[in-house]
Symmetry: D2
């Protein structure tokens, strides 16, 4: 699978004093999106971590067009944008009833427990490549 | 030391749509309070964790009287309420200009990496006992 | 309805350095539980807020038995424990495969936009009373 | 003032299961940085909100080089990167003992309570221009 959609309902604690989802929380929604994309593809981040393969974010480029609000049901569309032997880039689009709210590119690398960069594991290359 | 005061300024992401600090965030303020009490007493949670002594919360009893708001400067007063060989109870009081906002008792135990309960380490008993 | 169960999957950002859900996040799970209980009962917190009825937490009494971990699927069971003209108390039980993790009582009151306490609205008394 | 440094200590709840600050939390550190830059310049976001001028983030471009950990003391250096009549761009650099951890550009616009974009208020242009 190279694309997946996840539905979320905005929680009360995710909203700020303006009544909008705090901009940092979209990064958490993206993380849910890629976790679920991996899961439907047959992988699991928790198992990767147990195996000493830690996935870390090295770059976020995120554009905010319109705000989501408390109790909104939003859709996180996650897509594999680019895979190399050293990194994976996902593209995200968050919508509410087809209205585009937020888009982003997030780049991941894999490190070992000492922080040394690893090649993207074969299984991920096969799942996404 | 058996008592300590820490000042904090409320952050934007800690406030909810009513403009109040989300009630869950006071538990985070308490954690800062006990961390700083331990630090001024000569101890350090990070070192305890590195030594395989994990401190976990087993009980929170928290009363909310008045809300803190964005950008407020608040004081977290942390006090050792009770120490036994199996647990530590801290009492907390959060105030803004002497106005009492939130009070709580939080009970901690120490576990090892497998989750087995440990006796409270001697050094903590000495610091707080 | 006086009782409801909601399933959640633990998110990566909700877990702390021990690999456990941070104790403050269970309060956020409870909030989701009572929101969903209200929704299946025919009510909506968002509409109450729009109508100037703000629901605030005044007391949390929470016991932590076992930790939830990243990617766990947990069940939040929310039950009406007590309703008076001045407050609502919900009881919560969070489980993972029938293993009891966390239990709590959380007391709510209703205030207006100036912070003055209100009687619990008739519609809530009817839904829950 | 066009530049400011703020020191922060990493909180326990900000760290994830790898022991690193969750990548979303740096966006919250940036927000603290720009709030403090504005404060030392003589302005105040809280007052702007009270006056119906809401500052929202429209773009984040953030590069993560090395992780901060629990209890680390980090420095957030905030600098005015660009100001136009329609937006303000701050540049951020987060360091730990002069080791560069995270850098970012974050773009803000000002809206009114209906969400309509506003010119950057004169007072901000004067402070930062």
């Amino acid at each position: 699978m190279r694309e997946h959609e996840t539905e979320l309902r905005v929680r009360y604690d995710e909203v700020d004093a303006m009544g909008f989802v705090h901009h940092s929380n979209y990064l958490r929604y993206f993380e849910i999106g890629r976790t679920e994309l991996l899961r439907v593809s047959g992988g699991c981040y928790r198992d990767m971590e147990s195996a000493g393969q830690w996935v870390v974010v090295v770059h976020v480029d995120c554009k905010y067009r319109k705000p989501a609000r408390y109790d909104d049901v939003i859709t996180v569309r996650t897509r594999i944008h680019k895979v190399t032997i050293g990194k994976i880039v996902h593209a995200y689009e968050i919508t509410r009833n087809d209205e585009k709210l937020v888009t982003a590119l997030v780049t991941l690398v894999v490190i070992d427990e000492r922080g040394n960069p690893q090649r993207i594991p074969e299984e991920l290359l096969e799942l996404y490549g």
